[in-house]
């Protein structure tokens, strides 16, 4: 049993009602929530203090052009909000935000996060081509979390519930909509509103089938896709259509630098050194820093990558960049037994553990044998 509120009816309507309820709390101002932009036909986050805007919102949007963690970062990077706002986010957005808060890029105290059972989102480009039909299909598949044609990483996402937000919205596999407080802060808010009731936890079996399907997809990614990038040559050919536009980096919620190293003067190579490279390699492929760029990004953020797939969504040339990063991230995270956005401990980058260095203390001849 846990503290929460039960709604009947459609999940989206329940979330909207709940957000409006939260906004009545004296310590909460406004909400950050996805809204459909009628003219463009797509969705964007809106920061609002008006319950009317919440009424028009679409809490569970079928696309994610902008990762929500970036919105929270934009709002609170310089300073916390005077009072917290409600933020309705997909599970991967909550995780990215939590990850960013560890490095002072988001102030989590400024947001009461609400997250939900996520069916995934469509790639933005395919959604825009056929928005009305896909929206229809999305609505149909929502309660069963069975929407086809979503981002490849959504298909293999196993962290698809809202349990890491302050409030988790459950509807998959059950008849009603249960909103459960997942933090002490959330419990206090419910109590303050006089709405706290004891709610039964959802039986894990209710979403077991979805989880199994996703796990299977993940395994496929790990084996089939891994094969496609198993050697430097294969990797280069997967990246061959990369145009070095750096869109993937610009939309990435975790890439938080003000100026990317790969846009800096450090990589402004003088012509005579290009010539040296060309004569050394026989020929120099342009743009020359493509591989370095992707490897560099992996190095910088793969431990914190939440596999939201936004990078691939933004790629103009369909480079499977999100799958590549998800694969690498899976491996680097495993070294430290760390799951970004879920673990409360600091990123392994910031944590020093003595035993980590054992391999360095080993003499060469032992390390090699």
């Amino acid at each position: 049993m846990a503290l929460g509120v039960i709604y009947t009816g459609e999940p989206e309507a329940a979330i909207k009602d709940f957000v409006k309820l939260l906004m009545k709390h004296k310590d909460i101002q406004g909400a950050v929530i996805p809204v459909k932009m009628e003219r463009e036909g797509s969705y964007a986050f809106v920061f609002t203090k008006s319950p009317e805007v919440v009424d028009k919102s679409s809490p569970i949007a079928p696309v994610m052009p902008v990762q929500g963690a970036r919105v929270l970062s934009k709002l609170t990077k310089r300073k916390p909000l005077t009072k917290p706002a409600v933020a309705v986010l997909k599970p991967c957005e909550v995780r990215a935000a939590r990850e960013l808060s560890k490095i002072n890029q988001v102030c989590m105290e400024s947001f009461i996060t609400v997250s939900f059972d996520c069916p995934g989102v469509y790639p933005t480009k395919s959604f825009l081509k056929n928005a009305d039909a896909l929206e229809e299909e999305f609505k149909k598949g929502l309660k069963g979390l069975s929407v086809s044609g979503v981002r490849p990483l959504c298909e293999s996402c196993t962290y698809f519930t809202g349990e890491f937000a302050d409030f988790e919205v459950q509807f998959a596999g059950i008849n009603e909509v249960r909103i459960i407080a997942r933090s002490q802060r959330a419990e206090a808010i419910l109590k303050g509103l006089g709405k706290a009731e004891e709610v039964e936890e959802r039986d894990k079996k209710a979403i077991e089938a979805v989880l199994e399907a996703r796990k299977k997809a993940k395994e496929a990614l790990k084996t089939e896709f891994a094969e496609k990038v198993s050697t430097p040559e294969k990797l280069l050919s997967v990246l061959s259509s990369c145009i070095n536009c750096h869109n993937c980096r610009s939309v990435c919620p975790i890439c938080f630098c003000r100026e990317c190293f790969f846009d800096s003067d450090s990589l402004k190579t003088p012509p005579h050194l290009y010539l040296e490279r060309a004569s050394r390699k026989g020929g120099l492929r342009f743009m020359p820093d493509t591989l370095l760029f992707h490897l560099g990004r992996m190095n910088h953020m793969s431990l914190s990558c939440v596999s939201c797939g936004t990078c691939e969504d933004a790629c103009p040339n369909m480079v499977p960049v999100s799958r590549l990063f998800a694969l690498v991230s899976e491996r680097t995270r495993a070294i430290f037994d760390y799951v970004p956005g879920i673990d409360d401990r600091p990123s392994p980058f910031l944590e020093y553990r003595e035993e980590e260095l054992e391999e360095y203390e080993m003499p060469y001849y032992e390390a090699r044998s």
Partner: protein, 995 residues
Amino acid sequence: MAESTVLVYGTNLAGYRAAYTLAKMGYKTVLLNRGSYVDQFKNQALAQLPLDFCWACGHMPQRLFIGLGALQVFYNAEVLSVEGEPGNFTVKVRKRDQYVNNLACTECEACIRACPIEVETENGKRKAIYVIPEIAWENIFMIDEEHCTKCKKCEEVCPTKCLAVERPTEEVELKVGAIILALEYEEPTEEDLEKFAYSHPNVVKNSDLARRSLLTNFVKNSLARPSDGKIAKKIAVIATPQYNDREFESYNTTVSAVYRAYKIKEIYPEAEVVLFMRDFRGYGKGHYRWFERALEKGVRLVRAEDVRVKASEAKKRSKDNPVVVYSEKGKENEESFELVILVTGQKAPSGMEKIAKVFGVEADEHGFCRVKPFTAGETNVDGVYAIGEFTGPKGNPEIVWEGYGAATEIRRFLGDKNFAPSPPPPLRNVSGEPVKVGVFICSCFGEFNRFLDLEALKEKVAKIPGVAHVEIIKGCCTPPTMKDTAEKIKASGVNRVVLAVCTPLQKLLKYRRTVMMAGLNPLLSEFLRLREDVIRVHEDKDKMLEKAYALIYGGVEKVKRAVAEPPPAGKIKSGVIVLGGGAAGLETARLLAERGVQVYLVEKGKELGGLARNLTKDLEGDDIKSHLESLVKAVEENERIKVFKGYELVELEGTAGRYFGMIENKEEGQSVALEAGAIVLATGAQEFKPDGLYGYGETDRVMTQSELERAIAEGKVNAKKVVMIQCVGSRNKARPYCSRVCCSHALKNAIDLAEKGAEVTILYRDLNTYGFKEDYRKIAEEKGVKFIRFDGSNYPKLVSKDPLKIEVETTEGEKLELEADLLALSVGIVPNPDNKKLSELLKFNLDPDGFFDSDANACPFEEAIKRLMKPFELSTKGIFAVGLAHSPRSYTEALLTAKDAAGKILTFITKPQLPPPNAMYVSAVRESKCTGCGMCVTVCPYYARSIDEERKIAVVTPYLCDSCGACLVACPSEAAYLRDARGEMMIPYIDALLV
């Protein structure tokens, strides 16, 4: 007018530390090494500064201080006579210089090649002039006097003329203000270790093992048996001083034994390790945890009453396994081992008699130098100090602390400061000039011509884009060649310099100096290693040329984009806040104030003196009470100490060197703002209250040792039968540490009572009579005190309160019931409950036991050394824990930590401005790129970085930055950078290296 130079005689760690500390404080030192090279007389800490190389950062302090002019070292030195008085000693010294002047030697090894004499040794052939040892960072050239024919061929070929086969023995007269005796650790000889069959090849000293594994760390191969090279699987580790009256035991001995046993199990889990020791005496931070960890790892502990080793054929090259013969619980056993490791103690200094004669100091009953209680090594002769292992067996941290302490105390004999590093030459402003790179290729006095076609290299390098000038130079490491090269740089008109030389590791400062002599900032230069990276690693001449070219090309690309910046100096606040007015706080305040520092002493209570007010004397009989009284008086009368009684620290902002604190007297509603450069944590600790244990608190016949001491002093004790129980509430799950003072306390009371005719029985687990305290155990035994050992898992029980009856099971398995009129509980020391709050306020860590973290926290000493030897004193955030806030310790030992802290603080607090340790080489922040993520702050090992909360960007405190580069690695966008390795320098550098 008093002299300001100090003479340090001997090369123990305390002596080195004192010399370096004095240099930092502004005094010159002459150091006398009795040996012919830096490490001939071994130091106690084997891994510490082996051959003058510091593991922590690659600095070589001895070379550095010699180079700066603060230190002079004489080799083969002996003191002939001492005359005069404190402040004005005249010391006659006999010395003979080293064959090779290390500071001028380029290590080209031409001498070895020229030497016609080949000598067969145990380890193969070598010349009559040779390098020792093979694993050293600093090669030392030795001449084998037995075989050398004095043909002087080596002298002829020496390019820098730093070699002389015959060095005259000279006598010099030194004028010094004070003398520090710091003679070295003496290991037991083969004869002393006869009981342990040390002559057998497979019986080795722990120090042998440590030396052998210096550069590889301790690895499985380190366990190879000397007899046949087989990795030993069954190993005995013996703490020998506990079984050998020819050795003295320092508290390090047992923890070293435990650590060695643990390490063996760690690197070779299948090995069977048996540890022989009677009592575990490791009381340092974390020591008891290591003891428990070793047992957990499967080390078998045998608490033998006696141990010896026999070998059927105790000769070199014997292949038989040595047999350990030991008695346990009264029974004699034998067990054979593949390898026996002796963790040995130390011997009394062999030259003591002569030193006593020359200096007038006294030997104590053990043959060590006698020093006065409560000092950092004051002898009976005014102005002469004795420190380190020369005065008795002790642990490494204490030895280093004594170095700081002696340097501090001895200043009262000295005249004005006589050392300040010379200012750098004026540097030219090159901003706005077009980049002109000059490449200077060193021929090492022609040596490199033998391997490399330098002319061809020069020709190739001249074609690298941007190179304006190439020149071959003779050298860049002796005063004339440095001057010559500087002039060549100047004459060429270049504003960027690439120096292709032999080895920057040891000569870096000379190269930087050369560039500065040419008027250029060293940040505009790059140094490459033609010898270490090219000549000594390749055989093919074409490959050598190719690699030399690539290295130079890289260097050229790097310096092209280099930017000159001056060393950023930081301002230091001149005051010191001392929190706590107990003995350690008082002593720190006194020492600092007497040396001109403004001190704010903040005491929570209404009276000064702290826990020591309960003490009258120590085990050795020294009068604590009157010492404390005079200390309180000295503090209260000193004008430079402002005492705040009833005040507490409530706020603190800032970083090492710049603290802003607020103290408050809650009762009076007063608060005072204070500024300080350093903070001393002297907040003390408490005695464990054994409420409910053994009827304590229910009957007044059960008391703690300090209550007993007071009762004895007041003449209130007339018990005939007294039982004492050790380790009550100590060394258990809740408090897994040894409080070190309780055993001494019990012995002191037991001897007092036994003298009054009482029958005293001490029930103990391990009797921690470290150092010379073992003497008092013997005295107690002579006076009839009984000692009964029990097992830690089976504490004695109180079976009846009236009369008091205690049941104990001995480790031999015998059950005894003891009747007593009085039961004394030896309780440990527990941390001050305020520590946690204070630790959060100061952002300064506590150790796992709840005391304050310190440089000696890491254990065992291989680890501790790395922290003790950090390059500068501010690396603990400018916060220094002393006395019981640091760890449980006796009055004398608490004072020592105070002296140590005062010494460390005095190295920086009086300087208004501090440059970074590496001058202009520091890390910096590109403000436009920084997002304030704080990764660099977290990873900085020197606490040199913080986040400016207003601007949300990182800032660097320059004097704390050692330019290690951790921040640069952590920062994904290169907002953190090193001035000498900016991204725009390094990527082209790598590009060019790959040509």
